[in-house]
């Protein structure tokens, strides 16, 4: 039982939890304690040293008459953002109550009519912005995967297809999101001119998502092609002798065998996508974390720098979590890892 839980934790990349778990169960306590200290203690020491140096140096540096924000100021900024968030939540509750009252007062009006009369106009909260960013990056990532995986399979199966697609990979892969953005913005702007700004498919959202797609597509494409090309020749011979046919060969043999590599590509893709997203949101004004950073940059309040630093940390932590999720998914589809758990 314990071993199974530990295996799951390892597969999911949650290795940190293994030593405390084993210690609680009284297994190899001394050894696990040592391991735990190494795994948690060392990074913790490094973080403390970093915070201390940051604090000391920040106190010395003055920019335009202000000190550079240190950990204290950044924590304060985060606290302020949290209070803003609570205030806006309270605000929303009041609005909903008012709306419900209005509904009972004017039963003859439909809900949509009433919403138009008294819309909720508050600015998006920080959590809303995080949510928007995640939605955008996922949209871009899903589109990228839907394009890259079939194309990658094609490239991996046929050398001719690879030769044809390779030049595009080589030329377009290094293109910066900042170069794609104007093109995408113009095309999307022209084709989606009638879409209202507050709909789900707002232009800024589509532009940011498409830029994410264009930049993150390549890693999945290349890895899928590699994974498919490296499928054991014996397995392909088995597929031929069993008469699996084209469809059966791809779905029963090629894909399961290439899955770990495909997931590796998708992991790289989502990393690239998340990095690119912030720039894309700044320029396309998609109301996510990128726009938050940009708005802070444009405003000139005392805590601008501290707020941006909070955003940077948020972006980093979310990127880290996305990466861990992808690693866990990749391990789950790798033969040997999950198979051993079952």
């Amino acid at each position: 039982m314990l071993n199974k839980i530990i295996l799951y934790l390892n597969v999911l990349g949650l290795t940190w939890f293994v030593p405390p778990l084993k210690m609680v169960c009284g297994q190899d306590v001394a050894y696990e304690a040592k391991r735990f200290v190494r795994m948690i203690g060392l990074p913790l020491i490094a973080v403390v040293i970093f915070l201390f140096l940051w604090h000391v140096i920040a106190g010395q540096v003055k920019i335009k008459g202000q000190i550079l924000p240190g950990p204290v100021e950044v924590t304060a900024a985060a606290g302020k953002m949290y209070r803003d968030y609570q205030a806006s939540q309270a605000n929303y509750v009041t609005y909903q109550a008012d709306f419900a009252k209005a509904q009972t007062e004017y039963p003859q009006m439909s809900e949509t009519e009433l919403r138009e009369l008294m819309p909720y106009t508050a600015a998006p909260t920080y959590l809303d912005q995080i949510w928007t960013s995640l939605k955008t990056v996922f949209t871009g990532f899903v589109i990228a995967s839907l394009i890259a995986i079939p194309l990658g399979i094609l490239c991996g199966m046929s050398a001719a297809a690879f030769e044809m697609i390779n030049p595009f990979i080589q030329v377009f892969r290094p293109v910066s999101p900042l170069a794609w953005l104007p093109i995408v913005a113009i095309i999307v702007g022209a084709t989606m001119a009638d879409v209202p700004a507050n709909s789900f498919w707002a232009k800024s959202y589509v532009v940011a998502a498409v830029v994410v797609t264009l930049c993150s597509l390549w890693a999945t494409l290349i890895n899928t092609a590699n994974g498919v090309a490296q499928v054991d020749k014996d397995y392909l011979n088995v597929a031929k002798v069993l008469n699996l046919g084209w469809f059966g060969t791809i779905f029963k043999v090629v894909l399961p065998s290439a899955l770990p590599q495909i997931f590796n590509g998708m992991r790289l893709s989502i990393g690239v996508g998340w990095m690119v997203l912030i720039a894309a949101e700044m320029l396309s004004q998609n109301p996510g974390l990128g726009k938050f950073v940009w708005d802070m940059y444009q405003s000139s309040s005392d805590d601008t720098l501290a707020l941006i630093m909070v955003a940077v940390l948020t972006i980093g932590v979310i990127g880290f979590i996305l990466d861990r999720i992808m690693i866990a998914l990749q391990r789950m589809v790798s033969p040997g890892a999950m198979l051993a758990v079952r």
Binding site: D234, K240, L242, N243, V253, L339
Partner: protein
């Protein structure tokens, strides 16, 4: 009707850097239904290449392979292959691997019938209790048995064995040899096997086809083995006739095996006089 005929078969590969690699030339022999034929030769002489052409996984560069009087153009389930290194799909269970074959070959049968078929053949090869395990959870011998069950479940006319026992330990290997012989006898199978083990070839086959070394390897000699079936391991391995066959093979493989520019053959590891009960000790 003629069963399997290999007529003037030649094979070369076009290597991107090494150019044309001549592997086989002028291969001629035939096989009757129900026969057990073994091709023996040094490693790298082109045995797998020949077997792949019989399977239809590869096409000859010259000559033709005819199965039941039709030229072999592509693989079909009627010619099932048991691969050199089991080639089980690691993400499927034992029965999952066999079902993949059954589902593909017997599409028109009901799900229940297909499952029964897979289970039947797994029982025949002695894997009744391991059907739901994954390949990495069973032993090498059991994996090879699964490969055997997968091939048998396709209901083939001809079984192609590409050194299926090569990677196994001596005892498991003997066990699997005996079981394969039992299957050949009881199920009336036709088997075309490729091996580099002299003892295995003589013990199991009706005919041993000896290949010399490449490049341009060809058939040097065909030895008819007339031990009665079903075969009894101890009796055969102790018989003078066995030593005689063994001598013939070894003399061929280590004296006349080198053809053309081939590398010199390695020295024999055992002489015909050495009494060996368990097969193996094969020149590799």
């Amino acid at each position: 009707m003629k069963f399997l005929e290999i007529i003037n078969v030649a094979k070369h590969f076009n290597h991107p850097t090494k150019g044309k690699i001549e592997v086989l030339s002028n291969i001629n022999f035939s096989m009757k239904k129900g026969e057990f034929i073994t091709v023996i030769g040094h490693s790298g002489c082109g045995k797998s290449t020949l077997l792949n052409m019989v399977a239809g996984l590869d096409l000859p560069s010259g000559g033709s392979v005819c199965f039941e009087e039709k030229e072999v153009m592509r693989p079909v389930p009627e010619r099932a292959v048991v691969f050199q290194n089991h080639s089980l799909l690691p993400w499927r269970t034992v029965i999952g691997n066999v079902m993949l074959a059954v589902n593909s070959v017997f599409k028109d049968k009901s799900k229940k019938e297909r499952l029964e078929r897979a289970e039947h053949w797994l029982k025949v090869v002695g894997l009744k209790d391991h059907m739901h395990k994954y390949p990495h959870e069973i032993s090498g011998g059991q994996r090879q048995r699964t490969g055997l069950a997968r091939a048998l479940a396709m209901g083939p006319e001809l079984m192609l064995f590409d050194e299926p026992f090569g990677a196994l330990d001596e005892l498991t290997r003997s066990q699997l040899q005996d079981e394969s012989l039992r299957l050949h006898f009881e199920e009336n199978l036709s088997v075309f096997m490729v091996t580099h083990s002299v003892d295995e070839a003589i013990y199991m086959s009706d005919k041993v086809v000896m290949m010399n070394n490449g490049p341009n390897a060809t058939i040097g000699k065909i030895l008819e083995i007339d031990f009665p079936r079903p075969r009894e391991r101890l009796k055969i391995f102790e018989s003078a006739q066995f030593a005689h066959y063994r001598n013939e093979c070894i003399r061929f493989l280590f004296s006349r095996a080198t053809g053309g520019t081939g590398e010199p053959a390695p020295a024999p590891v055992a002489t015909a006089e050495t009494p060996i009960v368990v097969p193996g000790a094969a020149p590799a």
